[in-house]
């Protein structure tokens, strides 16, 4: 069924206790996700990453998550024990982080890391796991998978590193991928190529994708639906194809302040923030 609900989030709140007082990072976010590509867009501090991390229970120790509902199929993600989490993270929901330089283990070969991810969730022998890992590297369009399999992360480029991350996150065959700025550290052309690979794999395997990014235009050309976040609130939800019909002044402001290649050197419109946007 294309429209069955995989993930249901109702009134999600994330609160951080800091020495300077409580920080309300996510304030009442609700959405239902089917087998689709959902974009979450916002500027730094809008709560977009914290929303993604809360779904996977990765909120930092000084943070508190509350939600009326946080359900993945029939699993209640709000009340899992660490042991139960291990059956969900990686296996059923997986996350691609921003920078392959920091999220790959620098002292372990790429092949061993992918095998580790696979064998954590599938009982197979070493030979079969190696075979799978090389197939997966091939699936993310790495030209010489055998060589990359035996390489260390510092020996590959940023674009290649991010493809390795995708391979590692997809090999256990999760149903939902949360990608948090997966291509922001890459050059534009490489960025698009990596997104195309992600797109193909997600489509072929019927996975759902939450794509978190600061780049409204990129997200709307890639996803089916976009949530725009501002100061922890979802201020607008739009069909990606109808971005130009966005109604909220924040969304419009974000689109307007982008420089354009129209030969116009006059000043860019400045985003005037209104206090009422943050009141929900």
């Amino acid at each position: 069924m294309p429209n069955e609900t995989l993930l249901s989030v109702k009134n999600l709140e994330v609160m951080f206790n800091t020495p300077k007082g409580d920080v309300h990072a996510v304030r009442g976010v609700s959405f239902d996700l089917g087998r689709e590509r959902l974009g979450i867009v916002g500027e730094s501090g809008s709560g977009k990453s914290q929303t993604g991390r809360a779904i996977l229970g990765l909120t930092a120790a000084n943070g508190k998550i509350t939600a009326d509902q946080l359900k993945f199929h029939d699993v209640d993600l709000a009340n899992l024990t660490p042991k139960q989490w291990r059956k969900v993270r990686g296996a059923r929901i997986s996350m691609i982080m921003q920078d392959p330089k920091y999220s790959l283990n620098p002292v372990m070969t790429i092949g061993d890391q992918i095998i580790e991810a696979y064998r954590e969730h599938h009982k197979v022998n070493a030979k079969e796991a190696r075979h799978r890992a090389i197939d997966m590297l091939d699936a993310v369009k790495i030209r010489d998978p055998e060589r990359v399999f035996n390489s260390y992360p510092h020996e590959v480029s940023g674009g290649m590193g991010q493809r390795v991350m995708i391979a590692m996150m997809l090999i256990p065959d999760p149903e939902l991928i949360i990608a948090d700025e997966p291509t922001s550290a890459l050059d534009v052309t490489v960025q698009l190529q990596v997104m195309a690979i992600l797109d193909d794999l997600v489509r072929d395997r019927g996975m759902a994708l939450i794509f978190i990014s600061h780049d409204l235009q990129l997200v709307s050309s890639f996803c089916d639906r976009v949530l725009v976040m501002y100061q922890g609130l979802v201020v607008e939800e739009i069909k990606a194809s109808a971005l130009h019909e966005a109604k909220h002044p924040y969304t419009k402001g974000l689109l307007n302040c982008l420089p354009k290649m129209d030969g116009d050197h006059t000043d860019l419109p400045i985003l005037e923030r209104e206090a009422s946007w943050a009141e929900g």
Binding site: E43, S44, G158, D187, V188, T189, V190, Q191, L192, Q193, M195, A196, D199, H214, L216, Q217, L218, S220, S221, F222, G253, L254, C257, L258, P259, K260, M261, D262, G263, D264, H265, D267, L268, P269, I270, L271
Partner: protein, 254 residues
């Protein structure tokens, strides 16, 4: 104002700049675009004297640069770096960061100069005795611009000045840079990976790939999309967002 002829540079055995020619008139704004490793930042770093192994001719104000830069050069040419988190001393106050260049150059009257520089970049006096970590990314980049401006240079070299910032903050900093160029009659060389930023800010643009300028264009040509070199066309198309057919046509330029 700036003329560069047949500039070549090396990092050990790596030939990173190949016959780069650039000409920027007074009060002009020149943009260098390219992907990582294209050599765009190295051009700026060579001009400021941060690259040792280079050959060619660099003329600033019709004066040819030797292997070393002296103080008069740095009064004329200042650079703003990409990362406002890495380019400000974390344990110096904004006041000290701005006063240091004034003292080095023995200009005197640092108090009034600091006040003026902060005002030029749109920061009020309350920022003066804060530390960088107490400022947002956009405010820090304003401080970095103020530090460059405090010596009253005529040329600013801008290395990805807004790529670490949110788009709404980027718009503010780009407007600030445009205004300063108008009001102070500055000359810019701006490096960016973002074609739209450069198209918005610059009159003349050069597209770099693997240490070489592959194409030159005016802002108007860029607006019309009449680029000729296949690499620049690819870069132009990539700026249009996610389009599957376009991506499948990409070629690797390794």
């Amino acid at each position: 104002m700036i003329e560069i002829n047949k500039l070549n540079a090396w990092f050990d055995d790596n030939h990173v700049l190949k016959d780069v020619d650039i000409k920027v008139p007074k009060n002009g704004s020149f943009g260098l675009v390219g992907e990582s490793g294209s050599g765009k930042s190295t051009v700026l770093r060579t001009i400021t004297g941060l690259v040792d192994d280079w050959e060619g001719e660099i003329l600033v104000n019709n004066k040819e640069l030797g292997p070393k830069r002296d103080k008069t050069f740095y009064r004329l040419v200042q650079m703003v770096f990409q990362d406002p988190f890495g380019s400000l001393h974390p344990r110096h106050t904004i006041d000290r960061i701005l006063t240091e260049p004034v003292n080095i150059h023995g200009l005197g009257d640092s108090d009034a100069r600091v006040v003026q520089a902060l005002e030029q970049v749109g920061l009020d006096n309350s920022f003066r005795f804060r530390y960088p970590h107490q400022l947002s990314g956009g405010q820090r980049q304003r401080v970095a611009i103020a530090r460059a401006l405090i010596l009253e240079p005529k040329i600013l070299l801008l290395d990805e000045p807004t790529s670490a910032l949110d788009v709404s903050i980027q718009a503010e900093v780009l407007n600030l840079l445009s205004r300063l160029r108008r009001e102070l009659g500055l000359t810019y060389i701006m490096v960016s990976h973002d074609l739209a930023v450069v198209a918005h800010m610059c009159d003349d643009i050069a597209i770099m790939n693997h240490g070489r300028i592959v194409e030159r264009a005016s802002a108007t040509q860029l607006a019309e999309g009449t680029l000729e070199h296949p690499y620049s066309q690819q870069l132009y198309k990539a700026a249009g967002g996610y389009d599957r057919a376009v991506i499948d046509s990409f070629v690797d330029w390794d």
